[in-house]
Symmetry: C2
Subunit: 405 residues, 2 copies
């Protein structure tokens, strides 16, 4: 008999009918003899609706009250799910984040889980109950209700799986798992059966959706193996786990296309120590995440410097860079939103040379110009014109034969 | 500086715009220098919507989960109200029933308040905050979330006013106060400025709406004076308080019409000891509330017995009486739904004779037949044909000159 933590996202419980379907799935797992702890998000777009309501009564809703408001969403879905399970003849109980022992720091709206006191959950499990836990919320060290921010319910599931030493942690969502590329771009994509946390992280931060990066990082940190699968069918999904030696056999695990970045270029930058710090410190202080950075070789004591940021941060980044430009005596600052970042990811890159060469050759054969290049140990990313992004992905998917088992 | 407890019902906070209007009213009271504790119900029809959702996932939702579900409603309204107040520049904090120290027994869906631990509320008040408290909910002695049942938010307000020794307890609602009769029936009704708890109780249990009987009883028990007024204007409402000697000067305070009762008649009942017990014990066991009981004089050892019950209990009551009929050898059981109960209420009846005489004379002059009569110390009720109920109310309102100050 295994202890299984399952997590169902908002789209999986968006209607009473879907709540019953999830309840049936839970009951099936129960019939196999498993102990079950089920983390559930708010129904469908509940959280968005609540945020909108808050905007209608307040220009700048205080975070403590926002958390009070938002935490009501999971109360509804978890109580309905517990009811539906009991209606099917199985004992179940719903617990709020605070009741389930999720202890967080005091940062409202983006709290971090500090520890999980599993005593209440263990007590309910020992009484034979299926335990439903509100995702996305906890109790702060000051006794206030907090929420965990984006992807919070995934983190609740991972934290519970770790604290309970669960045998499995299953994340149910509206996709079937992690694919070699976005199926809307590449028709011949293949589902990835097993992926390492590092690969998943690189894919997530390169534009692949499925699971939010912070949750993958969290799972990896605590060594929790995640099984991502669809709540709408019975197909096996994708297992995300710590790297093992067998994984290096595959050169490229998957790829991603990111069209949400923009490029900022500062030209005529005096090439002297401290210049990079002068440029990037103001961005860091403004909490702007800089992704790729490329600096040209210097010519006559001046250089050009380009970097990418999220499109939503572009305006602020430009304003900051224009300030810096005046201070350091650079020539000009320009922005380019018409870019796409194509990334290939695989732990096999560590032990196999030549992946970059294949990537560059493939893009060249397609007549696609590479504007920026960045690499990590297990990832190569190229910035190309936005209009050429999807064609680049399809060509690379073929070149690395990702459609093959 | 007074400590004021205010309570706003669901219709007063049904939309974000109304939430802001309530916030403005609270801020006005704050500007007068009052300390404020504000109890709020769920927005508009939220609770009904949640009950409907529960019905869609479960045939018989377990009460513990129902309370978890229903208690989410006030979390939304109270957080929005606290946000709206803060947006107007005043400090506010929302507290759930458990956070506010409302301790109840373990009866889910109809919990009773056992005590209020006011320490958290007092702490927030001492920091200059307006404290918003979720109505209708508490924490049971077993640490579970409970709800208080119908009129629960009113009881929360009364319990807080008592525990905090508040100077005022104001119940805001969608009516302007308590009237001498239903304004839809009698155009010349007058608002009652002050009414005793006993009168209010008799009116409430005689079909008048405004405030639920249990809450009035609760307030009376703890000696809390309630001011019922409209959340949509600034008019003074009705004060409900313990009787004082000045109140007896008024003969009839107000009247009510109840069209939700039905009459059951058992004919040919053997007139011997223990018969009433045989008839009414099964009804009591089935939790059916019997209102008026009338027994005719006996003839040849047999009598007829009539009583009224709520229409919703009629079917069960009939079935039980038919069982009893067979056992005790009565002749027949009949039901009559076509009745109305007209009641006049006033503590002045205690010291003034002749109220009943005026009532019977007035109905006789109108050609309205009286089918049953019941009295308490401060109330006289007559059952008439349903079609004649409204005319009876109008005639009695004139006869007792209730339109006069």
């Amino acid at each position: 008999m295994a202890l299984v933590v399952q997590k169902y996202g908002g789209s999986s419980v968006a209607t009473p009918e879907l709540v019953r379907r999830v309840a049936e799935r839970i009951v099936r797992a129960r019939r196999k003899g498993h102990d079950l702890v089920v983390v559930v998000s708010a129904m469908g777009k509940t959280t968005d609706t609540l945020i909108r309501l808050a905007g209608e009564v307040s220009e700048n809703p205080p975070p403590r009250e926002m958390d009070m408001l938002l935490s009501s969403g999971e109360r509804i879905s978890m109580a309905l799910l517990a009811m539906a399970i009991q209606d099917m003849g199985y004992d179940a109980i719903s617990l709020t984040g605070p009741q389930a022992g999720i202890r967080t720091d005091t940062s409202h709206r983006k709290a971090r889980i500090l520890e999980v006191d599993t005593s209440r959950i263990r007590k309910e499990l020992s009484e034979g109950k299926i335990v439903i836990v509100a995702g996305f919320q906890g109790l702060s060290t000051e006794g206030e209700v907090t929420t965990l921010g984006r992807g919070g319910s995934d983190r609740t599931a991972v934290a519970l799986a770790y604290a309970l030493e669960a045998d499995q942690c299953e994340i149910y969502t509206d996709v079937e798992g992690v694919f070699t590329a976005d199926p809307r771009i590449v028709p011949e994509v293949r589902k990835i059966p097993v992926i390492s946390s590092d690969e998943m992280l690189e894919l997530a931060s390169s534009g692949a959706k499925v699971m939010e990066a912070r949750s993958v990082e969290f799972a990896s940190k605590y060594g929790v193996e995640i099984h991502v699968c669809s709540s709408f069918n019975e197909e096996p999904g994708t297992i995300i786990k710590r790297e093992d030696p067998s994984m290096e056999k595959v050169l490229v695990r998957g790829m991603a296309l990111d069209t949400k970045e923009a490029k900022v270029t500062i030209r005529g930058v005096p090439d002297r120590p401290g210049i990079a710090a002068a440029i990037f410190s103001p961005l860091a202080e403004a909490d702007i995440n800089v992704d790729m950075i490329v600096q040209n070789v210097s010519e006559d004591g001046f250089t050009d410097l380009s970097f990418t940021v999220n499109v939503s941060d572009l305006k602020t980044a430009l304003a900051l860079c224009e300030g810096t430009q005046a201070r350091i005596g650079a020539r000009e600052v320009t922005a380019d939103e018409d870019i796409a970042k194509v990334s290939v990811v695989g732990v096999g890159m560590r032990s196999h040379a030549g992946i970059a060469a294949i990537m560059f050759r493939t893009l060249a054969d397609e007549g696609i110009n590479i504007e920026m290049i960045a690499t990590s140990e297990i990832r190569i990313s190229c910035v190309v014109r936005r209009g050429e992004g999807e064609r680049a992905v399809r060509a690379l998917h073929r070149a690395f034969e990702l459609e093959r088992e």
